[in-house]
């Protein structure tokens, strides 16, 4: 691309805060996040929609930021892994991933956690099979799936558990 890009204004919510910026409409969302903003929690793996590493939530649904253009964000509500600790379910996910040692190189983990976040918000009663299906689009090349499943299952169990009476 030799011509300088012409930018266009877009407005959306990013991790709960309204944001307006000027950006080339065909810029990929993963590049916008990592290079322009810069929120480097979101990782690019395959760049072709097959590995799930770049997953973020758009209006609450997991989507792939490597296959999404900046112009598509207009008016949407975007959540990236940077918002995880501010979310009650996300906070618990972080703790469970730590406690279960559900991380090797860590590259797939932001995508795994965002996918798990959407799943558990919608289905707090998800069992291990639901979790396996829910995470089926996220690849881990360290083959750490067992501990990752353990961690998400642990979070689900905590969410299901009745609150202790004082």
């Amino acid at each position: 691309m030799s011509k300088p890009p012409e930018n266009a204004p877009i407005s959306f919510f990013l991790n709960g805060s309204p944001l307006s910026l000027s950006v080339a409409p065909g810029r990929r969302v993963v590049d916008l996040l990592r290079e322009d903003l810069p929120l480097t929690g979101t990782k690019e793996g395959c760049g072709t929609g097959e590995c799930g590493a770049c997953t973020l939530l758009v209006d609450g649904l997991p989507m792939l930021s490597c296959l999404m253009l900046a112009a598509q964000l207009e008016g949407r509500n975007i959540e990236t892994v940077e918002s995880l600790e501010k979310d009650p379910v996300g906070e618990k996910l972080i703790t469970s991933f730590e406690e279960k040692g559900a991380v090797q190189c860590g590259y797939c983990i932001p995508g795994m956690e965002m996918t798990a976040l959407a799943l558990l918000r919608k289905h707090p009663d998800a069992d291990r099979e639901d979790i396996r299906k829910g995470l089926s689009g996220n690849l881990c090349r360290c083959t750490g799936y067992v501990k990752i499943l353990d961690a998400v299952e642990d979070t689900a169990k905590t969410l299901k558990a009745p609150k202790e009476m004082p």
């Binding site: 065909g26 799930g52 758009v58 792939l64 999404m68 598509q72 996918t115 089926s136 689009g137």
Partner: protein, 287 residues
């Protein structure tokens, strides 16, 4: 930098097509953006369909289900109307990619990509889907047979758009079954797939429609295999005979995912697995 436009009405859409005749339509973008990036050049003007009125809904109109072409595969797989009336299509839609991909990829996109391995195509063939195409000159309707002209090729004309997919509701609740074999369960392109729509009365097959995906340039049907099941119970013997015809009908290629021989074997095996329905009564209830 070329624009990325999001029309909301037919009028906006048609005026954008006029202003940018070289524009590409983008539904979910999950195939298109990968293909465009592989070409290593600037994106063409894009007309995104995700906000178009009348392209993101699923409706029951009389005795047919009408699906907007920009409905995501998640919506197609989970909508109460498709789940009730078109389980075959739901199973196909749920087989594409993984959850995040299905939140973006659309039924219209799966059709227009026209991959021989497109997981919704065998179902749409068997269900006799009718495709409404929209252009400046109005609407025209094509059958699946007329729409898919080859691997990656469709009958769409320049400036023409797949608008809605219409399917008559199958009567007398037939058995509807889709099964796909890939190299892993999620995110894998099919090595072979089978869609089956079978109607039984008093334990005997009164109608059999069978379509294989990913084993030929287009979806493959076999009238010999279908005939081999007619008037018989779903038993090992009749399924074996049908599978023999299926192996002759499919025209697979060898590629990075599987050999042609393996695909032939799998095509036959998928058919023989319909024995799981052998005890289906004339209501065709699925387990």
């Amino acid at each position: 930098m070329n624009p990325v436009l999001f029309p909301r009405t037919k009028e906006m859409l048609l005026s954008m097509v006029k202003a940018y005749p070289e524009a590409r339509f983008m539904a979910g973008g999950t195939d298109l953006l990968v293909a465009l990036r592989q070409k290593q050049k600037a994106l063409p003007p894009l007309i995104g369909l995700e906000r178009m009125a009348g392209m993101g809904d699923i409706l029951k109109e009389g005795e047919e289900i009408s699906i907007g072409a920009a409905c995501t595969l998640r919506e197609v797989a989970s909508h109460p109307l498709t789940r009730q009336h078109l389980p075959l299509l739901c199973q196909g839609a749920a087989s594409v990619g993984g959850p995040a991909l299905r939140n973006m990829a659309t039924l219209g996109g799966n059709l227009c990509t026209a991959s021989p391995a497109g997981d919704t195509l065998p179902a749409l063939f068997l269900l006799d889907a009718r495709l409404d195409l929209l252009s400046e000159t109005g609407l025209r309707t094509l059958s699946m047979e007329a729409f898919i002209t080859g691997p990656g090729r469709t009958a769409l004309l320049p400036g023409e758009l797949l608008h809605r997919i219409r399917i008559s509701i199958p009567q007398n609740t037939p058995i509807q079954h889709f099964e796909k074999v890939g190299n892993r369960n999620a995110m894998a392109i099919a090595v072979a797939s089978l869609a089956a729509l079978i109607r039984m009365e008093q334990g005997l097959v009164t109608e059999a429609r069978l379509a294989w995906g990913s084993v030929g340039p287009k979806v493959i049907r076999s009238s010999e295999a279908e005939a081999a099941l007619m008037g018989k119970p779903l038993r090992e013997e009749s399924l074996k005979e049908a599978a023999f015809h299926a192996q002759k009908a499919v025209q697979p290629i060898s590629d990075i995912r599987a050999s042609a021989d393996y695909r032939k074997t799998v095509s036959a095996s998928l058919l023989q697995r319909l024995i799981l329905y052998r005890d289906s009564d004339d209501k065709g209830e699925q387990s």
